[in-house]
Subunit: 369 residues, 3 copies
Amino acid sequence: NQALSGDRTAGEPELKSVGDGSIGNNQGFSLRRVRLVFSGDINEYISLYLQPDFATTNGDLHFAQLRDAYADLAFDKAHEYRIRAGQSKVPFGWENLQSSQNRLTLDRDDALNSAVPSERDLGLFAYWSPSDVQKLWKDLAKKNLKTSGDYGVLGLGVYNGQGVNKAEANDNLYLVAHSTYPFDLGFMGLRGQVVEVGADAMSGRFNRSTSAYTSRFGSGTPTARDNSEDRVGVHAVLFPQPFGLQAEWNWGAGPTLNPSANRIERQNLEGGYVQAMYKIDNVFGTKGSMMPYVKWQTYDGAWKGVANAPRVNVDEVEAGVEYQINKALELTVAYATMNRTQIQTQTTAAGFLQQASGDLIRTQLQFNY
Amino acid sequence: NQALSGDRTAGEPELKSVGDGSIGNNQGFSLRRVRLVFSGDINEYISLYLQPDFATTNGDLHFAQLRDAYADLAFDKAHEYRIRAGQSKVPFGWENLQSSQNRLTLDRDDALNSAVPSERDLGLFAYWSPSDVQKLWKDLAKKNLKTSGDYGVLGLGVYNGQGVNKAEANDNLYLVAHSTYPFDLGFMGLRGQVVEVGADAMSGRFNRSTSAYTSRFGSGTPTARDNSEDRVGVHAVLFPQPFGLQAEWNWGAGPTLNPSANRIERQNLEGGYVQAMYKIDNVFGTKGSMMPYVKWQTYDGAWKGVANAPRVNVDEVEAGVEYQINKALELTVAYATMNRTQIQTQTTAAGFLQQASGDLIRTQLQFNY
Amino acid sequence: NQALSGDRTAGEPELKSVGDGSIGNNQGFSLRRVRLVFSGDINEYISLYLQPDFATTNGDLHFAQLRDAYADLAFDKAHEYRIRAGQSKVPFGWENLQSSQNRLTLDRDDALNSAVPSERDLGLFAYWSPSDVQKLWKDLAKKNLKTSGDYGVLGLGVYNGQGVNKAEANDNLYLVAHSTYPFDLGFMGLRGQVVEVGADAMSGRFNRSTSAYTSRFGSGTPTARDNSEDRVGVHAVLFPQPFGLQAEWNWGAGPTLNPSANRIERQNLEGGYVQAMYKIDNVFGTKGSMMPYVKWQTYDGAWKGVANAPRVNVDEVEAGVEYQINKALELTVAYATMNRTQIQTQTTAAGFLQQASGDLIRTQLQFNY
């Protein structure tokens, strides 16, 4: 037995401005995500999920590359206990697990996302989701509230840790543990209000490839001294009915470029975000809904997703509004004032590891099906 | 609501001959296009269209890369007014907009195609198609006449202009305007005969990447002086019932390599084609149809799709016949005598910017579904 | 008329060990094959088949690249006579034609597979399959016996010969001829037992790209003296009811690196395998089946799939068991003791062309649909 369902999220046109390292000059329209989902239940216990992304840059733009490719093996008909094998999301954090289609803001926060850039890896994961929690999450989704999907009340996993679509480069695996629980506050007289809280932990070693860099604080090709990484995180979410709050924080240590000693060494990292939002239904008398939000985020630690794992310092406030015109069409306008370390271009002493700040307005048109 | 339709056009085997720069030695069988279409109407106003091509060369052959990825937003139920957002065909010219499946000849003409190599770009386009014209185009298609598809009686667009699947490289956008109108000549007593005429214009700036070249007329790495491009074009088509004529021409100016001054400067360009064809139905007593044709084309101007935007001089006559055996299978045999400037290999003084001429026979087997 | 069928084979997690050239250090989980099949019958005579693989490495991992893209044209309703045009499997050998989903062992044997690395090429193939043989093969498949698919009782083909997804590099085509016939041994009183025997031949020329190498036996960039290749092969298979035997052998000559003379010259090659297996149905009282097997293989000859076409010497014994838990899920555990020439890294004198040996255990989890 086999089904084919589709899901395409094309974020564009995205008009970018401001001379910021992560935003950049010389930009026009762009496609952020163009994804198709092929999924199917093979029998009552086994299902497959395959999601290529057609917006991958490999020299030229828009090649097809895998995002997800996994099989779910349930041990019971209610799917309370599951094993997921293949390339899939690593259960660390709450916003990391939330699909881009569901996420309110244009980007994920840096602090938690730096733990698993692109959010995915190849491994084996085990999840436990009691039926009553499955039902509560489904009820929230029916009310158009943005859950982070079902990654279990408890999740445990081992994975390569080198990053999505990267060849494994050592013999060590990463370990990750995830917990979250949604509490219905009906017993406090707050009927329908739901608070979800949880904690995560991860630990592992990976090989950060090194390359020549130039900065005001030192230059060269660093030697790698320690590649071990450990993190713990916490999260709390009040779903917006109509007022919502969302916050996450994580602490840890990981391989980080020390340019003055010209080596990659273990350094501490810390950061998180707080976000407030308000849900307005039936805007302009239609079935559309609007959600204004404001998000503050900070992160001080290594960004392991790029060569040499340089330390970034991020401080950003973003205010915006998402207008869900109908099921298929979503428009987001966001204003941000940001201050972040430039780490993309690593060969200019004037730029690399310097702080850059700026204000910018971004517009995103998103189609879902 | 969601549908899945498919369309695959695999042109092969293509036996090539003659030592021509664009045809080449050491060729056997090849796949020209292997494409799948995923499309669906989400509601009465919004539809999505995604077309990857599996015949893209990226080092090795046959990687999947996006051709089209767009959303159509109609403002009325008759879809007279539409906005198209994403990567799609740029409405300049008539043969450019005609799908390869519908096109009679093996290749598009150089003169008009040089305006938008690969015919596509990322942007926002607006189209207006009155219902009676939509109906006339559909009637023509039902008679197996090769229309150029519905890109509006009027079309307007803004797009990046750097070329399909290339990252935008400046802050300037291209503008394009398209017009075309099919006239039913019934009022002149020519029942069923249809003539379509129209005009197009485009204007913009793009960054032509430069690289080292060697030619008899000069060598080096050129400096870019002016990257602005402007073109106007006209077209006229008499649909073959049974005799048909098709002609297009365009004039303009654009960035062009001047090897003696070793720079890229604005130079004039001009060219077009004239094509005659004859449609024979029920060949050999079957439902198949045959269409012999002859096409003359010329172009003198820059080819912006390759590095340094060198000037090409093309003069070509092609005679062939397309045999549509049934809906799914199509065989084309074509004989061409061509004279064109070699621009692919830019590092041999003896070859680059030299004229090459030759005769060649090509065979193409095409499967559609 | 159009259908969409799917087939995904994700082999993982594959835990590798032992310092062997083809297995390697620094490995964790990996995806071996992630494939989707799009196929459809257009009418009674024409069908199309398209299979991208999402586990292709192109710099990063997991890009989508074509494996198969062909059209079948049958000349009769029983599909006894067919032409296959496009990229498809080259009919040389028996295990080469068997799909990975059907193959018992984790890898194909080196001796026969070296004739057509990746088993596919672009060309034109003609097949003849009498109806009674088609029926016998289908009956075997219904009994969950692993046939090699329908590539005709007789097959003939011409193809580029440069390898799958590689651009053709000369004007010569390869020729291949394939024969196989399944005999029902009912007439000998062995009801239901089937033996399949056959022979194959191929001949052609290809351009083996050369690159600088370093070995204890010589170094440099070789000059290519002769690129012609000829092979003949034989095979015999007793389908396991419950005991089975399978053997193939091939002899020939082909372009081979001679490091002492620093050239690629024509040298002899030879090799094959013998495999015994036993099929146990209804394991543990379930519908699952188990198939323990042991395979011995040897090969002494050029491996044309890598640069310089170096000579490899392979001697390997593998013992394993495949547990088909249900239609969708298959677990294979295999132990192998192997001795093979290192040819991947060609720039270390200590490694290249040296024999490496080791024992290893591999586990593969496979999902089919």
